[in-house]
């Protein structure tokens, strides 16, 4: 039961990070440097990848 709850939370975080990545990449495409000036998107991509690994 606990494992299932944890998995659900990670799944939600994975969805969230996917949406965040889309938002950041989309913003960067539309308005160049609007995100990279503040943050390296690679860090978010690494978190997203870790979340995906935990789901496997």
């Amino acid at each position: 039961m606990l494992i299932k709850v944890k998995k659900n939370i990670i799944l939600e975080i994975f969805y969230f990070l996917s949406a965040v990545l889309l938002l950041l990449i989309g913003s960067e495409i539309i308005w160049p440097n609007s995100v990279l000036a503040y943050l390296n998107i690679n860090y978010v991509a690494v978190l997203w990848f870790l979340a995906w690994l935990l789901l496997l």
Partner: protein
């Protein structure tokens, strides 16, 4: 906490992030501040930042854990902004290790990308701060009046006397007794246009001049302000080559004509000759400025007609001259000479002294501090000549309507009685560091790919001249229209 709650929290986080991105993109309050410190603090988020690196790299030494050391002039840095702003307040914290040969530090923003012109504003002028420290000082806002012997009780009183050219203002020639520094915006007080009352007759100028040039000329009302130019388009560069001819009265542009390049053939090397007549009826007599703005593909082959003799302002680039040697006349104490053509290396003569232009792609500075008009003789053309004054094409046509400017070659002689400057002495902070602030108008600044280009200039600074400028911090505070201002403007434009 169930899955629904988590999803709601994450959704709020996502919306907050999206809002943050939009907020930082549009800067609705119209104000944004960016800064860069040396030594740089750790970049935990891996951000690219807003203020770019100093270029060219050979003029700046940046070592880990140290201040940025500027050893050449000028250096540039770009600042990315998510939107346009109308004003940039640049504050630079620095340690001044410069020598007496380099007394001036300025900062500016790129305003014209065709002629690569930066509008410079002083950060520090050691001549004013140190050499004239004993003079009487009067200040009105950012206008500073220095008097050798106190005659005026306020800046306004002095400006009125200057405007009216009071006889007791100066004991000698007004052009020798007053020096200016950074006096843009004070033009209406300057009587320069009334100083040049003599009309020097025009003689055709058949020395071809490459690229942008500016000239002074005098004009008598009710006569015709007619010009006739012969141009050559070399068609060596890939871009089209329009020519913009403008006439200025003081700082105001009163006439402009653009000659579009509709002939093509760019990069082909196919030379095209064309003639342009310009006619304008100016209402008043006096001093005017002619500007011919063009890229390096355009050569002003001949100036056939003008209302009076022309003197070139600050810069000359003679090319393809039919008969050499050629001579110009100037009253400046220095000339800067550069050539990009190895065939133009030579020994040139400046006021009776020979100077060797021995290297291409390098700017040489030749000094001759003798007072009066000096002849410059070139044995080869394709040289860029620059100074802080004017060049005339004949000795008898020489006139310089400008007041003396306090630049690094300025000599404080006994005739000088007043200095009028728009200048704030930098603030001294701890450990020999100084902090200077300049306010730059970015409304007309050139912005490419979201970046403004800034310059820090220490004229004369090079590795040979020793000295350096250590930069500790650069802070750029931008301000502009708020979102509400923009909405109001849109509504008003629809209503009207």
């Amino acid at each position: 906490m169930n899955r629904r709650h988590i999803r709601l929290i994450l959704l709020i986080c996502w919306l907050f992030l999206a809002g943050l991105i939009v907020w930082f993109k549009f800067v609705p309050l119209g104000q944004a501040t960016y800064s860069l410190s040396y030594p740089a603090s750790p970049n935990i988020l891996g951000a690219k930042g807003f203020i770019g690196r100093f270029t060219p790299v050979d003029r700046v030494q940046i070592k880990s854990g140290e201040l940025a050391k500027i050893t050449g002039d000028p250096v540039y840095f770009s600042v990315f902004t998510p939107r346009t702003f109308s004003q940039a307040k640049v504050t630079i914290t620095y340690q001044n290790n410069l020598t007496a040969k380099t007394p001036i530090i300025s900062a500016g923003v790129l305003v014209d990308n065709i002629v690569w012109r930066y509008r410079l504003v002083p950060l520090e002028n050691a001549l004013i701060d140190n050499e004239l420290a004993s003079w009487d000082k009067l200040r009105n806002g950012d206008i500073l009046l220095l008097q050798k012997n106190k005659k005026f009780g306020s800046v306004a009183e002095f400006l009125t006397a200057l405007k009216n050219q009071n006889h007791n203002l100066c004991s000698g020639d007004i052009l020798d007794c007053i020096a200016f520094y950074n006096t843009d915006g004070l033009a209406s007080y300057l009587p320069a246009e009334t100083l040049t009352q003599k009309i020097y007759p025009f003689q055709p100028i058949d020395i071809p001049l490459q690229g942008t040039h500016q000239f002074y000329f005098t004009y008598e009302a009710n006569s015709k302000m007619d010009f006739a130019f012969d141009f050559t388009d070399l068609n060596l560069n890939k871009n089209s080559d329009p020519v913009v001819i403008s006439i200025y009265k003081g700082e105001e542009k009163i006439f402009s004509q653009t000659i579009a390049d509709g002939f093509g053939g760019e990069s082909s090397g196919q030379v095209r000759n064309f003639s342009v007549p310009v006619s304008y009826q100016a209402p008043s007599s006096g001093l005017y400025k002619l500007e011919i703005k063009a890229g390096d593909d355009i050569v002003i082959k001949k100036i056939n007609k003008a209302p009076s003799a022309l003197t070139a302002i600050r810069r000359l680039r003679p090319v393809n001259v039919a008969s050499l040697p050629i001579s110009f006349w100037t009253d400046s104490s220095f000339i800067l000479a550069t050539t990009n053509n190895p065939a133009s290396l030579q020994t040139l003569n400046f006021g009776g002294h020979n100077f060797s232009l021995s290297e291409a792609y390098r700017q040489f500075e030749f000094l001759n501090k003798e007072i009066g008009i000096k002849q410059v003789t070139l044995n080869h053309d394709d040289i860029i000549l620059e100074n802080d004054g004017v060049f005339s094409f004949a000795a008898e046509d020489f006139f310089n309507p400008e007041f003396k400017e306090i630049d690094r070659h300025f000599i404080i002689n006994s005739d000088l009685e007043y200095v009028l400057a728009k200048y704030q002495t930098p603030q001294v902070i701890d450990n020999n560091f100084k902090q200077a602030t300049v306010v730059l108008n970015t409304k007309e600044a050139y912005r490419e790919k979201g970046k403004y280009s800034f310059m820090i200039s220490v004229p004369g600074l090079s590795l040979e001249n020793k000295g350096n400028l250590l930069i500790s911090n650069i802070k750029v505070e931008f301000s502009g229209r708020t979102l509400w201002d923009k909405i109001k403007e849109k509504i008003l434009s629809y209503v009207n």
